[in-house]
């Protein structure tokens, strides 16, 4: 029996119940409670001060920019931003946690009761994943165990960098749903521009709580927490692995133990964490150094008013306004910058289908080849629109346009300049075209007689020959017309 069939059998018997905790680093200039730079990649311990080093006597002062970004994210998730939230201390000892506690939010978080729609059920109803809470907290530093022999190095550059933790309800029922949730969450956060969302740099981290139960059961099973996934596909694989592990335990009439597990991506398995995280008592209490965070209704509404168009709304609008297929809409709205790029091209050029085809085809391929994001793309939307205008107006052939585009991606030059410089302007001049047509007819007179005699499929041969003679510049429409005229004349 293969793994896949085992999986299917298990899946038909049990279902997984998953809640995700997503930590997102906010893209503030400075840390959450001090003026140190929050920049990634500085030399170790460069971005530190008495506050984030927890020197005796130092005190935290809340960064208001972080509150604004956190609130933006919460509002984008449809969550209720609270007029009063409280910072609490989460107490535990670890060398990269300078104060011996992390300032977080506990029983009064910044926002509660949001949701994210991740797709549709077979019956057409929305699959909605509830968001329990969005809270703010500071990051810890980094312990580096592999740099020095028999010693651990501590880098506190990250200590105090602002995070939000987005906690979902246990509404996720499959690894695929978990993947959709994470991809759509990342997309949403990219739209509201609150984070760099870079999993390699740790600005987006995912922990999963998973339990399983027999299909149809309503009671929740014992959950485990799975950590250490460094990609979304890693999360999906880890959930499947943990699902299978728990199912095997239940099938053997065993009991799932509540514990923290680490995903080992190389082996494709989970293993228990060294410390028993579940046994920690964090002794939360309100941080007496920070007054309650009070936000007025007006302030919250101002932040809401400044939210950009969110992915759902943009998808709907693109479908209506540009008459695009569902697939095209999804590709074009996947990233906010790409969608804005498309929209600029479509508006300047007018033919949204042509704009969509070019952006989804040539533009995305060029970005992929160059390993670039669209922010750094040298081809300006107005120039691409101009190129599409030239194609529509017959000033360049489609083939030439691709060539011109390739040159635009290298130089950033304008399409007219390139067409002229490279001699790629389409030839529509009747005299020149007639000369080429006549030369081809003369050179292939036998075939021409067969064509005139009724063998219509030979037309393509003549068009191709003329195009070749012109170096691809002849206007194919006019060539067709000329050949037809010669045949009938």
């Amino acid at each position: 029996m293969t793994d896949t069939t085992t999986q299917t059998a298990v899946t038909s018997r049990y279902e997984m119940v998953v809640g995700l905790e997503v930590h997102v680093q906010l893209r503030t200039r400075t840390k959450l409670f001090c003026n140190c730079s929050a920049q990634f990649g500085e030399p170790p311990n460069r971005n530190t001060c008495p506050v984030c080093l927890a020197l005796p006597g130092s005190l935290p002062v809340l960064n208001e920019a972080a509150v604004e970004l956190a609130s933006r994210a919460a509002l984008a998730l449809g969550a209720k931003v609270q007029e009063e939230s409280i910072f609490a201390r989460k107490n535990y000892f670890y060398p990269d946690l300078p104060k011996g506690y992390q300032i977080s939010q506990f029983d009064k978080p910044l926002a509660t009761e949001g949701s994210l729609i991740i797709g549709e059920q077979a019956n057409g109803s929305a699959i909605r994943i509830g968001i329990t809470r969005v809270h703010m907290e500071e990051d810890a530093g980094k312990s580096i165990h592999d740099r020095f022999a028999a010693a651990t190095a501590i880098d506190l550059n990250r200590a105090g960098v602002p995070l939000i933790e987005i906690v979902s309800e246990p509404d996720i029922r499959s690894s695929a749903e978990a993947g959709s949730y994470l991809r759509l969450l990342r997309q949403l956060l990219e739209y509201v521009d609150v984070s760099d969302l870079n999993m390699e740099e740790g600005s987006l981290r995912v922990d999963a709580n998973i339990s399983i139960r027999e299909r149809g059961a309503t009671k929740l099973g014992t959950k485990t927490e799975v950590k250490n996934m460094n990609s979304f596909s890693g999360v999906e694989r880890a959930l499947d692995a943990e699902f299978a592990r728990q199912a095997a335990i239940l099938d053997a009439h065993g009991r799932v133990e509540q514990q923290t597990l680490l995903w080992d991506a190389d082996r494709g398995t989970v293993r228990p964490a060294r410390t028993k995280e579940g046994s920690h008592d964090y002794r939360y209490f309100p941080d007496p150094d920070l007054p309650p965070l009070r936000l007025t209704k007006d302030w919250i509404e101002r932040i809401r008013g400044r939210l950009p168009e969110l992915p759902d709304a943009r998808r709907r609008r693109f479908a209506n306004e540009y008459r695009l297929s569902a697939y095209d809409v999804d590709v074009l709205t996947a990233s906010p910058r790409v969608s804005e790029y498309f929209e600029s091209v479509a508006r300047a050029h007018g033919d949204s289908k042509a704009a969509a085809n070019w952006v989804m085809g040539e533009v995305l391929a060029a970005l992929k080849n160059a390993g670039l994001t669209i922010e750094r793309f040298v081809v300006r939307p107005a120039d691409l629109a101009k190129l599409l205008d030239m194609v529509r107006d017959g000033a360049v052939s489609h083939t030439a346009a691709k060539r011109i585009f390739a040159l635009m991606t290298q130089s950033g030059d304008r399409p007219e300049q390139i067409a002229e410089r490279e001699g790629l302007a389409q030839v529509g001049d009747e005299t020149q075209l007639a000369t080429w047509v006549d030369e081809v007819i003369t050179a292939q007179s036998a075939e021409w007689q067969r064509y005139v005699g009724g063998e219509k499929k030979l037309l393509g041969v003549f068009v191709g020959a003329v195009m070749k003679k012109s170096g691809g510049r002849a206007d194919p429409k006019k060539v067709n017309q000329l050949l037809a005229a010669r045949a009938s004349g």
Partner: protein
């Protein structure tokens, strides 16, 4: 003659005029410290001093005046600060082994403010370890002694600062309060001690004991010395989110006012049957003097007073257990040399903290633990609310200030209180002001067997002005009787 014979106002005036030199004042402070043996061989009031830096600062103050800069209210006045306030040149140990040799790379806001007011910081003073104690006997560097009777304690936790003022080394000193740690040693040493309203003074650079109770306080030889000291450090600081944006009054402005129209409450819970009759007598005599100055004295009740000590000993240790977690040997202070992380923590902290600090960390950890939080910490916060309400009710009823004994007894002999609970009771009249966040101060009201007794004036939030008005009046009314 020691410059400490001159009031702060007078000394600063002479320095501003150029008729006295700040370097002389500093030299005299060090001379007096030597004379009274304030160091480890005598009073043990001073843990660190930096003569060169102090003289350098004094020279600079004089230089700034010559260059036409406006002299500050503490121009060239020598001061000492408690060893839990971060200073740049001298170590900041908090009276603990865990911070032995630690020198802060930044300066506490209050120290910066004192210095910009012209003060010269000459020494760091002894204290109970991390400000946990009422006798200074919990210092890892040995107890400070009471200058009026070296067999007795100076009080605590700011015992070293009180002793420095009482022995004439300086006229002004900074201490800190969490539950009476300025007022009680002020009472024991016969000087003035002020705990301002919570939020009146920045805590940035004050090594935290219990953040919701901690407040920097001021000692003065006289009420006026203390008023000048407090004015120099008071006011909002953007580095302390709990400091308040409330205008700072001129605390000296009502120094000579009569007390006509002032209503003074005498809370019965602060004069219990068990109170030392000599303490009661001195306090009631003081109230009589205040009546003569035009005040009305009214009996009032603060019914939740008896809950203050248990409430305090839940909240303060809870916050302390968290605040003291950073002393782990990782970034500063001595580190136990052992390869295993957990053992490094345990040994660093076991070696670094004394028994009282260890007791409070354990107590605080316990009351915050899952399953106990509701019963202890949360409950204590509720009771704290009741205690604050007691004060609000009394002040709302038209009472301007309250007058009580500062401590139930005069200074007790070194080593006489071995039971921690008995020691905790010496703060019974002072912890309430910390729990309620109101300002309170102790002024000398006389002596019993040559030992000073302090009277406590408490006022409503941010009404230090009225508190000082009454304190000035007490000082004026009692005159030399305050020290006899």
């Amino acid at each position: 003659m020691s410059t400490a014979a001159l009031s702060v106002a007078e000394l600063a005036r002479r320095h501003a005029e150029g008729t006295a030199a700040p370097t002389d004042a500093v030299e005299q402070a060090f001379a007096r410290a030597t004379e009274v043996r304030a160091g480890a061989d005598g009073l043990n009031a001073i843990l660190a001093h930096d003569r060169e830096a102090a003289l350098g600062d004094a020279t600079q103050v004089a230089q700034l005046h010559r260059e036409g800069n406006r002299p500050g209210p503490l121009a060239g006045v020598p001061v000492v600060v408690k060893d839990n306030l971060a200073t740049l040149t001298m170590p900041t140990t908090c009276g603990s082994r865990v911070l032995e040799g630690y020198v802060s790379p930044y300066e506490a806001t209050v120290v910066s403010r004192l210095r910009s007011a012209g003060a010269i910081v000459v020494a760091k003073t002894n204290m109970d370890e991390f400000a946990m104690g009422s006798s200074n006997e919990n210092s890892a560097y040995g107890p400070a002694r009471n200058p009026l009777d070296p067999t007795r304690v100076p009080g605590g936790s700011s015992g070293g600062s009180a002793a420095c003022v009482a022995s004439g080394i300086v006229r002004v000193a900074l201490g800190s309060e969490t539950g009476g740690s300025v007022r009680q040693p002020a009472a024991f040493c016969g000087v003035v001690g002020v705990k301002p309203t919570y939020g009146r003074v920045s805590r940035y650079g004050l090594v935290a004991f219990a953040s919701s109770l901690d407040q920097v306080g001021v000692f003065g030889r006289t009420v006026d010395d203390a008023a000048i000291g407090l004015a120099a450090i008071a006011g909002r600081d953007r580095f302390d989110s709990t400091s308040a944006d409330v205008p700072v009054d001129d605390y000296r402005s009502l120094a000579t006012e009569s007390l006509t129209g002032v209503v003074i409450g005498r809370p019965r819970e602060y004069f219990p049957e068990s109170l030392d009759p000599r303490v009661r007598e001195r306090c009631d005599a003081t109230l009589d003097s205040l009546r003569h100055l035009g005040a009305t004295v009214r009996d009032v009740s603060l019914p939740h007073t008896d809950l203050a000590i248990p409430t305090y000993y839940i909240i303060a240790p809870a916050e302390a257990s968290s605040n003291l977690a950073r002393f782990d040997g990782v970034r500063y202070g001595p580190r136990a040399q052992t390869p295993a992380l957990r053992e490094m923590y345990e040994r660093t902290r076991s070696n670094g903290f004394g028994p009282e600090v260890t007791r409070r960390i354990l107590l605080g950890t316990y009351v915050l633990s899952a399953g106990y939080y509701e019963a202890y910490y949360k409950k204590a916060q509720e009771v704290r609310g009741l205690i604050a309400t007691d004060f609000r009710r009394v002040f709302d009823s038209g009472v301007h200030v309250l007058f009580t004994p500062t401590a139930p007894t005069p200074a007790f002999p070194l080593g006489s209180r071995s039971d921690p609970y008995e020691m905790y009771l010496s703060d019974i009249f002072t912890v309430t002001a910390n729990l309620a966040g109101i300002p309170a101060m102790s002024v000398p009201v006389g002596r019993v067997d040559r030992l000073p007794i302090g009277g406590q004036v408490m006022a409503k939030h941010f009404d230090e002005l009225t508190m000082f008005r009454v304190a000035y009046a007490i000082e004026r009314a009692l005159g030399e009787d305050a020290h006899q």
